[in-house]
């Protein structure tokens, strides 16, 4: 079974600064997808960024980028120029490309990010 671990229950950052959220995962599958989701206090989950495991290049979406280390099974999220609206719970998630893990997201425990003005 796949597992996802977020070791930082809470993180904080000053507005305009950079913060990195950590995520590690365990899988025996060779093909899979990794995601970072954001859940603001309003509860609606929003996809922040995704990474295909077969791609070596790290994904970026504006101020959000990942550091994907496949051998180390690490998938961290970097938020640059943090904004007040970035405050939320962030979930790292895994989705296999086939087999029993296909079609379901396995989530980490989440990291609460606080942004200080």
């Amino acid at each position: 079974a796949q597992t996802v671990t977020q070791s930082q229950p809470e993180m904080s950052v000053q507005e305009a600064e950079t913060v990195t959220l950590s995520c590690t995962y365990d899988t025996s599958e060779s093909d899979y997808y990794l995601f970072w989701y954001k859940q603001p206090p309003s509860r609606q989950m929003i996809l922040v960024i995704r990474q295909e495991a077969y791609k070596q290049q790290n994904a970026t979406e504006n101020r959000f980028s990942v550091n994907f280390q496949k051998a180390a099974k690490s998938f961290s999220l970097k938020i640059s120029d943090s904004q007040l609206g970035d405050a939320a719970m962030y979930f790292c998630a895994y989705n296999g490309a086939g087999g029993t893990s296909y079609g379901k997201l396995t989530f980490g425990q989440g990291t609460i990010l606080t942004v200080h003005p």
Binding site: F91, N95, G103, T106, F107, G110
Partner: protein
């Protein structure tokens, strides 16, 4: 474009009763997923429906069941409610793809409280 909608927003039941939660996917999406977000347990996958069929199921007892209708909306039924079923139930939808994990779009959730 309307997002994923869920009803009701809140649901209060007593132990032993049945709960029915509803989800309408984004137009054009054929897959619907259900997740449970319980305090202390995090987000756990419950069910995946696509084209009216159950495609995958998480580690939940059979009293958690559901279905998908021809218009791709879905119901989650929880029978014989237990106190630990109290949670936020999230529905997500996506396009059906082959061999490529699609982006799942989430609804606002239904807060189920079991007394």
């Amino acid at each position: 474009e309307a997002g994923v909608t869920q009803s009701p927003t809140h649901l209060i039941k007593t132990r032993g009763q049945q709960a029915t939660l509803r989800c309408s996917p984004i137009s054009g999406h054929t897959s619907v997923y259900w997740y449970q977000q319980a305090l202390g347990l995090g987000l756990q996958f419950l069910l995946w429906y696509d084209e009216g069929e159950e495609r995958n199921r998480g580690n939940f007892p059979p009293r958690f069941s559901g279905r998908q209708f021809p218009n791709y909306s879905s119901e989650l039924n929880v029978n014989a409610l237990e106190l630990e079923d109290s949670a936020l139930y999230l529905c997500a939808s996506s396009y059906r793809t082959s061999g490529r994990a699609p982006e799942q779009f989430f609804g606002p959730g239904t807060r189920l409280t079991v007394l």
